[in-house]
């Protein structure tokens, strides 16, 4: 979710930048998202068929094919940034191999520091430079020029993944030195732009395994199920709620209590279905190539406390932050107060990682505080009835997402004021904001919440549902409906004027 925090706010989908920057040529400049014609009907079948055809004869060439395809997938968005990701991969690989092979060199720590600084500098320059410059200008009246550079796609993901590789190389936990495997670990297209955040230790051995290059119908069947569910979550559910959330946030001045709640709930549902849908698609796509990606969501809105929530939401990010920040900081080994500080720090970093803006920082701080309070509460033996525990957790997450989505705190406060009744409770006017009746909105929100709270999640469906004819029909219908929604025909409203 890192790179698209700002995009979620405005367009509520991670590929927003593709519409902000005009293409440099007819076939480039658009992000080839999974729910696009280009991806489903052209890129995927060609790459898949090529992979197994080549893999039959020579796996290393299939690996090369997959790496080139992944780089093409990245470059399709903006070829100018291809050298950046390739350069980053080469530098990190060289440093990683050097650290892994030179166990006794006294300068290892220095080299690791240089490597981490390289990644942090890259991320800092592209993602945070303008944020710092703006705040410096505001605080000290300086006139630091903003670079207003387009954020390279996926930079937060591939930077984190490669920092982990460097650290593990320093710890002598890496033992595989093959650039093709490394390149695929970083750039494998299913996980490249929106995660899950993958670990080299999980990924690189899979690319080395010869079995990966042979068609495996079990993986294809599982992949089809989870890809279909993810595509439907994104196209049919998330995009529906995105329209309501965008309408609400686009007219915060007119929101009242009812429309305020519709807006915030729509966003909470949109975010879950969008992000988890995209993760599901990534897992399914990877399975088509016999690669297992880690699960990233496990029904997070069923969580009964905030720690539980973070064990279910963006699981791979939590895993990364725990392993590479929380534990090195001391984790829970240095006493209770220090544990709380460490927890707070990782959530602060998490907030900042999601986007270069104060609302993200505040969102992270709120989750940090909530996590600390939840631990104190538990340590003191506090318990809530299950329903209350769920309600408190869900409402907290929901309120925090209001800030996450808002472009600034002023807008967030406007939404809160409306939600808490300071702008009146008006049943009328809902249609003018959302262009849909209140009854329809209530119905959709109930369905969305019902699915998020009571239905099996996509991974459970994939793992437990037997391949019955009914499941076959279900998957076909999801695929067909979603794929046929990729191109919408917009009708002109002012017809006879």
């Amino acid at each position: 979710m890192a790179d698209f925090g700002n995009r979620y706010r405005t367009k509520a989908c991670l590929w927003y930048t593709s519409t902000q920057h005009p293409p440099t040529n007819k076939f480039a400049g658009y992000l080839m998202i999974f729910n696009s014609f280009e991806f489903i009907f052209l890129f995927l079948p060609i790459v898949w068929a090529g992979f197994f055809l080549i893999g039959k004869a020579a796996p290393p060439f299939a690996k090369t094919w997959l790496l080139l395809a992944s780089l093409f997938f990245y470059a399709y968005w903006n070829p100018a940034y291809l050298p950046l990701i390739v350069g980053s991969m080469i530098v990190n690989y060289i440093i990683g191999v050097f650290l892994g092979r030179n166990k006794w060199l006294p300068t290892r720590k220095l080299i690791l520091t240089v490597g981490i600084l390289f990644n942090v500098a890259l991320l800092g320059y592209f993602k945070y430079r303008d944020f710092f410059a703006e705040n410096m200008n505001l605080l000290f009246g300086t006139d630091i020029e903003l670079i207003q550079v387009l954020l390279p796609l996926a930079i937060s993901f591939y930077t984190f993944q490669q920092i982990a590789y460097l650290v593990d190389s320093y710890r002598l936990e890496t033992n595989e030195y093959n650039f093709l495997n490394y390149g695929l670990f970083v750039s494998f297209f299913p996980q490249l732009i929106a995660g899950p955040i993958v670990h080299h230790g999980d990924m690189m051995p899979q690319f080395s395994d010869r079995k990966t290059y042979r068609v495996n119908y079990e993986n294809i069947a599982k992949g089809l199920v989870i890809f279909a569910v993810g595509l439907f979550k994104k196209v049919a559910i998330a995009d529906t709620f995105a329209a309501y959330a965008n309408s609400g946030y686009g007219s915060v001045d007119t929101l009242t209590m009812i429309s305020g709640w519709v807006t915030s709930l729509s966003y909470t549902l949109q975010l879950y279905f969008d992000f988890s849908g995209y993760s599901d698609m990534a897992i399914g796509l990877a399975l088509f190539f016999n690669i297992r990606l880690p699960i990233n969501f496990n029904s997070p809105y069923k969580a009964l406390d905030i720690q539980d929530f973070w064990r279910r939401w963006h699981i791979t990010l939590s895993g990364f932050l725990t392993k590479y920040i929380y534990i090195p900081l001391g984790g829970s080994r240095k006493g209770v107060p220090r544990t709380y500080v460490n927890i707070f720090i990782i959530f602060l970093i998490s907030g900042f990682w999601h986007g270069a803006g104060w609302t993200f920082v505040i969102w992270g701080i709120l989750h940090g505080l909530a996590s600390v309070i939840a631990r104190i509460w538990k340590r003191s033996g506090g318990r809530l009835p299950k329903l209350w525990a769920w309600a408190v957790t869900f409402l907290f997450v929901h309120f925090a997402f209001v800030i996450f989505r808002a472009p600034d705190m002023t807008v967030a406060m406007q939404v809160f004021k409306a939600m808490f009744g300071f702008e009146g409770l008006h049943l009328t006017g809902v249609f003018s904001v959302f262009n849909v009746s209140l009854g329809t909105l209530a119905f959709y929100l109930a369905i969305g919440l019902g699915i998020a709270l009571f239905a099996k999640n996509s991974v459970q469906i994939m793992e437990t549902e037997k391949r019955t004819p009914l499941l076959t029909v279900f998957v076909i219908m999801l695929l067909y409906y979603s794929a046929m929604q990729l191109q919408r025909v917009s009708e002109f409203l002012y017809f006879n004027f």
């Binding site: 014609f37 037997k466 076959t472």
Partner: protein
Amino acid sequence: MARKVILLSDKKFSRVTVAVFLVMAAITAGFNYWIDPLWHYGHANAYNSVQKVTNEREQKIAMLHYGRHDYDTLLIGSSRSTYIHPSAFEDWDVFNFSVANMSIREVHSIMLYSQSQLPGLKRYLMGADFFKSSEKEAGAPRSLANYEKKIAQPFYRTKNLLSLDSLDISIQNFLNSATDTIDEERMYNRKGEAFAKKLTKQEVDESTSLKIERFEEEFYGSNYTYYKDYPMILEKIKEAAQPGELTVYTTPISTALFASLVSTGLYEDYERWIRDLVSVYGGVWNFMYPNTITNDITNYQDGHHFYPEIGTLIAKRIQHPDTAEVPADFGVFVTADNVDEHLQHVHELMWEAMIGTDGGMKEAE
């Protein structure tokens, strides 16, 4: 006894799922291609002869881009002009680029785009609407640029074949074509000719009264201020037509709606508009005043949009000024020489027409 559950192997499940999905997608695409609801391919058959309008700008720009490129005449106007059939013009090969709610500010971009697509273009016909000369309607910049970008997207046509939205329109077009039914305000045939649902006299009276009400609320009276840069926009259009020949006409609204225009105090603005058109273009075909056609409300769907038969009369009058096939009082070519006389005549006709109407009485008082 427990029912036996049939289980598919992973291989069969995968193959069946992919195969059925592809077949369904292919059927969808095939049906959409056959009906062609977005006008991308141009073929005609008995089941796509009636076409719904989704977005005329997108449909017509696609038609121009993917279709024939040998038209010699371009007709531009708003929704009223859509009802003038290209086939109404003898010998001229007309592409009608009239679209709903067209602003005068859009005409220039339509001309430039059409010129890029039609190398043999030598003639332009432009329908001018009085209510589109206000600050509100002409003030904001408009262009076709977004549509140009849209149809230039990679795989634009193929993507629209694989679409449930397209399929929905295809099915409606199929049913309308199979039964030869025109049941909407505007539906097209494959030649780009628009038709309208035929209404009864009572329905026309009702829709006219609603239209007048809406015009008085949205466009006429205090909502109208003549846009000061309107003549400059007309000049720009004139320049864009060079070296081609440009003919401008005014769209004939019903006398009932004209009376509403007058009763809300806009007659002077109407005169100014006619004079500006004459001044910039040297001459304009004026159809917008009380005459045999505009006095008969059954020539209209709503007092504002005439039926295609009237569009044909406009075409005939423009092409053959002396034709006897058109009522003699329908259409006057107004130039600097006769503009005063013509407007005086319109003024008289207007009072004649308004005597007895509420609007006329109010104005007379």
